[in-house]
Amino acid sequence: MAGTGPKTLLAGAAIVWRHQRILWLVYFINLLLATVGTRGAVARTGAILNHSLATERLVHGFSLGAYMELWFHPSLPFSASRPMMLCTAILFALFMLFATGGILTSFFEDRRLTAGNFFQACGDYFWRFLRQMMWFAVALIPVGILAALAAALARRVNQQSISPFPAVHTVEVAAVIILVLMMCLRLWFDMAQVIAVAEGETKMRRALKSSARLLRHNFGSLFWLYLRISLLGWVGFWLGLRMWMEHLQPEAIGRAFLVSQAMIVFWLAIRLWQRASEALWYRERLPELLVPAPLVPPSPVEQAPSELQPV
């Protein structure tokens, strides 16, 4: 069994660091789509706020009342913003699905692809991953059912118990179980994508079967790898949120923007770190197997350092 000690973890981080271009590309798309998604609301609300003295309650603090008054403003500045925001979020999800092929190829081969090669890899795997997404949706159904059952159980416990805490603990336990299940599912499907890229598997059902086999035999090490990065992500997110909400002055709008965007970049980096570590883990697990020939011959200039060459 391949080790998942600090070496794999740090090597995964190093891969993300070396392929920063991917991180910044994904962040740029994320930012761009969010800007598009909120542009209408910003324009409409700006027309109300920019010349009004009533904005003091929003600038020097954040008055929920002043914010909610905008919801009832006659010009309805938020109307049509929510669907737009949802649309851009869906677009980003589709973009990530598209980019995953290129990202995994870069990470697995640990070499810098040209833009053309990167997007070629994206295109090569897009339909496979799209099909896989359907399977993921199917796999989420039992989790949804479980969540509904847990909610019903919590309601029942809540109704019967004199103290509120048995129901609270039921919800806590159920939430942890469901979160772990979701992470397992994600890990399963992530590894199937890695297999598809590493072995050129075109049948995603077969990739999912292989991934399931892999998980069955290496669940502890893989999940531990995934969990550690997730925990780091949550801790970083919580710290960023605390800094934004509690330590920045309400008027420090520029700094708040930097902190919030740093959190977004960090969150993206965490996700890419998981993907890089998965790819690395898979590469390290099969030393006896030859790593498939690169999809695109590497250019001499972009040759990865020798110690990082696949074994």
């Binding site: 929003l58 603090g61 009342g65 979020a89 999800a93 699905l97 809540n158 118990s161 509120p164 969150w267």
Partner: protein, 658 residues
């Protein structure tokens, strides 16, 4: 133990009241001679003696009630109506129909149905009249509604005489719904006994129970002897006179209460009782707090808010004359029992996880305690004029919360987000907001005739509070407080009307305020002012041509146009600021649709603002009340930042799920 109200209490109260520099307080109406004791605070029309027996397993109460009614109506009375409130929770009742109309999709569970059945009714000297009982429907044609029962006696009761009704009845308590019922082993027993209507304005006033209405009853005395299992801990709206353990494992508790118009009680074996006290101008007040499991962290918060409310009501409005107040904290899941007022007892509301930055427990305590004044003592008709208790009380609640917890932080006070009571009443985050329902109904509309339950809440609670805040602009905050004080002293332990309240304000302020009341109280007019135009231009056209040069024009013509968008006419101040640091205040009566102000000065306009003191809280749109020449994009940048962050994070979450 029994607490007999000492006559000294009345004297202390009178002294404390006489210290206030106000208007003489002649009695508003000729009061008949008191029927009961000389030190009574109210005209005691009714005297109830009730002996309920609680069956916790079956959620039922069997009881015998003896009601002595003193006919102070000034005329013979032969027909008597009674409220049977628990019958509201029946499948075909008016209450349920209205609830289903306003809350589409809400399904009633079988256990949420409740009822009250009068098994026998006798009248002293007139025999068994059970067969004479009939259900009536004074408000609608719903023959299935059984919330009002009427009985016609064989002979009339002469004026000044007493009549004694004896009823045996059975309550089937619902799983807690609309302020009453059971939840597991918790019982909130309110509106649970046959209650006679009120002879008011020359007729019986006994409305059916509606989803948006509350109660109305005469003052009197209550002697309630409750029998229930010995492990039950009881909180009741009366002084405990005696407690006797019975051989069958039950106990019988006798409570006495006077100068109140209702009696409610709560029981649970799991209450933790906390006792505290506070001393005001009318003497000590014992605070009984009954906490449910899991909610203990909220107990100090309840007590702090309770003492703060006692103090400020005592200072601003008048003395609290009862020697006790009982606060019942419903158990988890008992939201439907929370936040309800009864004389000398109310239910609070919290959760096990209530963050310190969310002041819901404090808010509910201040509001429900306020009802001891506006409903408990000033006993207005909640069916027909709910704004007189809910609205005035919401205004007082905001005033008190602002003093106790800060003006803009009296609902939420975290470092990042804040919310004040007044803002909440406008925007409707914790309470139904005025901005959503500004003009559906006048506040004076009877409760069941509002557009829907939400409009009822927004108009009755929030709009009334905001119109009183806006009235402060006209007569001053202190004058309005003085008017409320006078209104309380004059009408406590009576049933005043809306006009009594409005006339008191006019009398105390010395102003004719009909123009305001006709729009704000009786009307549905929209109040919305805006700065339509505000600019400075060089007065000399040559200066305009040279505007790009370094020389500054000598004189600018500044124009500010104020526009009344709504149909509510209200005088406003307009503050105009110039870049030489000077500012002007203009006063506009608002009668015309617009007003143009022009100034030729050696300074340019910086900003123009309507109502710079922010007193006109009925204004529908506060953002258009001002205009600044130089844009300030900080607010929109801040909002944009938050929205972008949410959008980006949502997108990433979605990507994780694909």
């Amino acid at each position: 133990m029994c607490r007999t109200r000492p006559a000294a209490l009345i004297v202390i109260a009178a002294i404390s009241l006489s210290a206030r520099p106000e208007i003489a307080l002649p009695p508003p109406q000729a009061r008949p001679k008191l029927a009961a004791t000389q030190d009574a605070l109210s005209i005691r029309v009714v005297s109830y003696k009730i002996e309920p027996r609680l069956d916790p397993a079956n959620h039922t109460i069997t009881a015998t009630e003896t009601l002595t009614y003193h006919n102070l109506t000034g005329q013979p009375q032969q027909t008597f109506p009674f409220h049977l409130y628990l019958n509201a929770f029946q499948p075909k009742s008016t209450w349920v129909a209205e609830d289903e109309r306003d809350h589409a999709g809400h399904e009633w569970k079988p256990e949420q149905y409740g009822s009250i059945t009068v098994d026998r009714l006798t009248v002293t000297g007139m025999g068994d009249l059970t067969s004479k009982m009939q259900f009536v429907h004074p408000d609608d044609d719903n023959a299935e509604d059984r919330t009002v029962m009427q009985v016609t006696l064989p002979k009339p009761v002469p004026p000044g005489a007493d009549v004694q009704f004896t009823m045996t009845f059975t309550d089937k308590l619902p799983e807690v719904v609309a302020r009453t019922g059971y939840l597991r082993d918790f019982f909130m027993v309110g509106q649970w006994f046959p209650k006679v209507g009120v002879w008011w304005k020359g007729a019986w006033n006994c409305h059916q129970f509606h989803a948006s209405t509350e109660f109305f009853a005469d003052f009197g005395t209550f002697d309630v002897q409750i029998t229930l299992p010995q492990n039950e801990i009881v909180g009741a709206a009366g002084d405990l006179i005696s407690s006797v353990n019975n051989p069958d494992g039950t106990k019988t508790l006798l409570f006495h209460s006077e100068d109140v118009h209702d009696f409610s009680w709560a029981a649970s074996p799991n209450f933790r009782v906390i006792e505290d006290s506070w001393t005001g101008s009318a003497g000590p007040v014992r605070i009984h707090l009954l906490m449910s499991p899991g909610n203990m962290p909220s107990a100090p918060r309840y007590l702090e808010a309770q003492k703060g409310a006692l103090k400020l009501f005592d200072e601003w409005i008048g003395p609290y004359p009862y020697g006790r107040i009982t606060i019942v904290d419903p158990p988890h899941g008992g939201f439907n029992a929370g936040g309800m007022e009864y004389p000398t007892l109310f239910t609070a509301d919290t959760t096990w996880y209530m963050p310190k930055s969310v002041l819901l427990p404090e808010n509910v305590v201040v509001h429900e305690f306020g009802h001891q004044y506006w409903y408990g003592m000033v006993a207005t008709n909640e069916f027909e004029e709910a704004w007189l208790d809910e609205g005035i009380n919401t205004y007082m609640e905001a005033k008190i919360m602002d003093v106790l917890y800060g003006k803009n932080t009296s609902v939420i006070r975290s470092r990042f987000v804040t919310l004040g009571e007044l803002e909440d009443q406008r925007a409707g985050i914790m309470v139904p907001g005025y901005l959503r329902w500004p003009d559906t109904d006048p506040i004076t509309r009877p409760g069941w005739r509002f557009y829907d339950d939400s409009a009822y809440g927004a108009v009755t609670y929030s709009k009334t509070s905001l119109l009183l805040r806006t009235l402060e602009k006209v007569i001053g905050e202190e004058t309005l407080r003085s008017a409320l004080h006078t209104y309380f002293l004059r009408y406590r332990f009576t049933h005043p009307t809306g006009e009594d309240f409005l006339k008191t304000i006019e009398e105390v302020s010395g102003k004719d305020l009909r123009w305001y009341f006709n729009q704000a109280v009786y009307g549905t007019n929209i109040l919305d002012y805006e700065i339509l135009d505000a600019q400075s231009e060089p007065l000399n056209p040559d200066d305009a041509k040279n505007a790009g040069s370094h020389s500054r024009p000598d004189v600018y013509r500044t124009t500010v146009v104020v526009h009344r968008k709504g149909d509510f006419i209200f005088p406003v101040d307009v503050e105009i600021k110039f870049d030489d640091g000077k500012s002007l205040i203009e006063h506009w009566d608002g009668r015309d649709r617009w007003m143009r102000y022009q100034y030729d000065r050696a300074a340019q306009l910086v900003s123009a603002e309507i109502d710079p003191e922010h007193k006109v809280q009925l204004d529908l749109n506060l953002y258009n009340n001002s205009y600044r020449v130089q844009q300030d994009q900080r607010a929109i940048r801040k909002l944009s930042n938050i929205w972008m962050f949410v959008g980006e994070w949502l997108a990433q979450l979605l990507a994780w799920l694909t």
